[in-house]
């Protein structure tokens, strides 16, 4: 069958139109920059209906978080309208998109959730194969199913399912549950390694942080990192000392392992060996004020004391170089007397955006971690 030149032109123009609209949306920036234009583009895409759903989903990849929310909102406006009118949506295309793991996990999840509204049985079809999916929500669903399966099984069969579930688990609650079941069954679980916690550090201090004045002061370890150096500390001469943690969740507990010096600060440093140049997330948990450097570059700082802490409290995207990368933390304790304000601790791990550990390729570091966790 021949397609007329006129029809081809119309199709081509339509595609150009939606591409322009998507480009307009992707150009939004902080401060509501581009919002007026994005509003018009979103409206045009919405009027275009279901045929724009897939192009919108495909454009998530590489979009900023703000642009992704504009795209998401436009997708939902179309899908909502199509659902209310009972119109067909391109189910097969969306299903293929969900299965394409190279696409944006957020967009794939969006498509999946809308498909699920019309076809709830899709969960049984898709989720069991998503244990190692790049999308943490898909992984979570897959682990949930395995936990239920393990709960219904007994002895070795249950252990085998828990083992399988652990491979995909990226969330603390799941790992805790799985680790308990496996350990109860006599299995060994290295939670530190599973999450990629950095467990072996060099630490120096205390330096003065009375009245919280030390946070902005660049003490010598900030100027140059010399692990052989000796410094004038808060209470006398100080030098770098090794400190390691055997805690499952990589907690370096200064108050317990060294001393809870009130109104003080410490520097801790470690080396992480990356197998290649790569983007990773450093995930930090601490109730203390802190500054973090990677290869001498300050990547974030935060002056907040004792407003709670949790694993993965801070997610800091950083670029690592192939080979050794130096991670240095400044951690500050204030002088609060409240019982809930006595923690002086931190935990840091290296992972990808899903929360999956990216282990150091330094074999010594890996061995030390494994030995520490198995004691």
């Amino acid at each position: 069958m021949k397609t007329s030149p006129f029809l081809l032109t119309v199709i081509l123009l339509a595609n150009v139109a939606h591409a322009d609209d998507i480009a307009t949306i992707k150009a939004v920036g902080p401060g509501a920059a581009g919002a007026a234009e994005a509003r018009v583009a979103s409206e045009a895409l919405t009027k275009g209906g279901a045929k724009n759903l897939l192009p919108i989903l495909k454009s998530f990849k590489g979009s900023s978080a703000l642009a992704s929310n504009w795209l998401r909102s436009t997708f939902e406006a179309i899908a909502d309208a199509e659902t209310k009118t009972g119109a067909a949506i391109p189910k097969d295309d969306l299903l293929t998109f969900v299965k394409t793991t190279s696409e944006s996990p957020e967009a794939r999840r969006l498509a999946y959730e809308w498909l699920l509204k019309r076809s709830p049985q899709l969960a049984d079809q898709l989720i069991p194969n998503m244990l190692l999916d790049p999308g943490p929500d898909f992984r979570r669903d897959a682990v949930e199913r395995l936990l239920k399966e393990a709960g219904d099984a007994k002895n070795d069969a249950a252990t085998a399912v828990y083992r399988k579930a652990l491979q995909g688990a990226v969330h603390e609650d799941h790992v805790k549950k799985i680790a308990k079941a496996l350990r109860d069954a006599g299995d060994e679980v290295n939670i530190q390694q599973h999450f990629g916690f950095l467990s072996s550090w060099k630490i120096v201090g205390p330096f003065d942080n009375k009245d919280k004045k030390g946070f902005p002061i660049a003490y010598p370890p900030e100027e140059s990192l010399d692990l052989q150096a000796e410094y004038d500390g808060q209470l006398g001469k100080v030098k770098w000392e090794p400190i390691a943690t055997e805690d499952d969740y990589g907690m370096v507990d200064i108050a317990r392992q060294i001393e809870n010096y009130k109104g003080s600060l410490m520097y801790a440093t470690t080396t992480y060996t990356s197998s290649k140049d790569q983007q990773v997330e450093l995930r930090l948990g601490t109730p203390n004020a802190w500054k973090l450097w990677v290869n001498g570059e300050l990547v974030f700082e935060r002056e907040e004391y004792h407003r709670s802490t949790k694993m993965d409290q801070y997610k800091i995207p950083v670029s690592l170089e192939a080979g050794d990368n130096v991670v240095t933390l400044k951690i500050c304790q204030n002088e609060q007397e409240d019982s809930w304000a006595q923690s002086y601790q931190f935990q840091i791990r290296v992972c990808d955006s899903t929360g999956s550990a990216i282990p150091s390729s330094n074999k010594t570091a890996r061995r030390e971690t494994a030995q520490g966790a198995s004691k």
Binding site: G31, A35, L66
Partner: protein, 404 residues
């Protein structure tokens, strides 16, 4: 007519033009003081007063707002509470009119008791302004179409609190005003309601602050002012420019918020401290202070010449608004996180365990006239619109209305 008076009149006209009877446009109502004196919600909550109940797709401490025939609510879901929901329900039937979801762009860490959907959304009658602990400020039209999106968590990544942020935005004229205040970074921002662009941004005391701004209404030649509370006190701010017009610097709570009723300001400061703004709005006179009326988490409410507070033990205190003298106390079952609403001559309290108390106050005593156990954790504040009462838990939204 001088320019200030013209401006004040224009603001009043703008508010009147957009304000539909029965709306409840923001946290603690259109006047941000929890008073809905002309509304007649049922005072007997048990029995047949439940008009509808709907299940929610996520958690939340935020309160519903009412705009026309829609009840708007926010929620958050997902393992990291990073999925942000805006929901619109038909006020008559409870049916979902539309829902939009977004991915949080800022930090979602918060205390287990709180939720990322803790701040209550606001509306100018044409748009919804949904705000979250992650500092995502999202504007949609009344049909759910995205108008603009501010990722204040990305723009100002240190302005967050690891326990969670709870301050709810307000709208004055064409400005959306939000307080984003934490130990690490603190500011207040005035955002243009139509464009989403920043009109002004001012530094605020760097200390964790969970209070919400309130409104000092326009009077005479004095335009409406935004009242921003913090541990340092209370600042009156021009909503158009962010200019601080006056400042009460004697300290205030960082949890319950101030209210303006009858032209006087009731501040949770050293118990309760009251201020009377000058006629030109450029200064204030301090009236009385009462340490016996100190509110805990819930904000104080003023009705019928009395102020009502609840302390951390769940004891309700009534005070005379002319003198600050405590009139009586009534034992309720606490603890309370949400602020009660005053309507139909009664006060409507919901405690954290989901127990509702309807209290009839007089000068002599307070009497519990109705109780209801919703058996779900409720940390939010009720809303009143079109003679109905709305309350949400983590799991449900209820409407209570008189039977016809």
């Amino acid at each position: 007519m001088n320019s200030q008076l013209i401006y004040a009149v224009m603001m009043l006209i703008a508010v009147a033009a957009n304000c539909q009877a029965g709306d409840w446009r923001q946290f603690r109502g259109n006047a941000a003081n929890s008073v809905a004196i002309d509304e007649k919600p049922p005072t007997e909550l048990s029995g047949g007063s439940t008009a509808w109940q709907v299940a929610l797709p996520g958690r939340g401490v935020s309160s519903p707002i009412a705009v026309g025939q829609s009840i708007i609510l926010t929620a958050s879901s997902g393992y990291g509470q990073d999925r942000l929901h805006i929901l619109s329900f038909d006020s008559e039937t409870g049916e979902t009119q539309w829902e939009r979801q977004f991915q949080a762009t800022g930090r979602t860490a918060c205390h287990v008791k709180m939720s990322v959907a803790t701040p209550t959304p606001a509306s100018d009658g044409e748009r919804i302004f949904a705000f979250y602990s992650s500092n995502d400020l999202i504007c949609t039209d009344l049909a759910g179409n995205l108008q603009w999106y501010r990722g204040l968590g990305e723009e100002f990544p240190n302005a967050s609190n690891s326990l969670g942020m709870s301050s709810s935005p307000i709208v004055i004229g064409s400005t959306v005003i939000a307080q984003v205040e934490s130990d690490a970074e603190a500011f207040a921002i005035g955002v243009d309601a139509e464009s989403g662009e920043t009109k002004w941004k001012i530094d605020r005391p760097r200390k964790a602050n969970w209070t919400s701004p309130t409104i000092l209404p326009a009077t005479g030649s004095s335009p409406a002012l935004a009242l921003l509370q913090s541990s340092a006190g209370l600042a009156a701010v021009d909503p158009e420019t962010g200019t601080v017009v006056w400042n009460f610097a004697d300290g205030a709570s960082t949890t319950p918020s101030s209210s303006v009723v009858g032209g006087n300001i009731f501040i949770p400061s050293h118990g309760i401290t009251t201020l009377k703004p000058a006629a030109d709005g450029r200064s204030f006179e301090q009236l009385w202070n009462s340490s016996t009326l100190s509110p805990a988490t819930s904000s104080a409410v003023v009705m019928d010449g009395m102020t009502f507070s609840v302390n951390s033990a769940g004891a309700m205190s009534a005070g005379d608004i002319e003198t600050g003298e405590r009139l009586w106390q009534l034992r309720l079952k606490g603890p309370f996180s949400g602020t009660p609403v005053a309507a139909n001559g009664h006060l409507f309290y919901f405690n954290e365990k989901g127990l509702a108390f309807v209290v009839k106050p007089t000068r002599e005593k307070g009497e519990i006239v109705s109780e209801l156990d919703l058996a779900e954790t409720i940390l939010s504040s009720p809303a009143v619109a079109d003679n109905a009462l709305y309350i949400r838990s983590d799991g449900h939204l209820w409407k209570f209305a008189n039977q016809f």
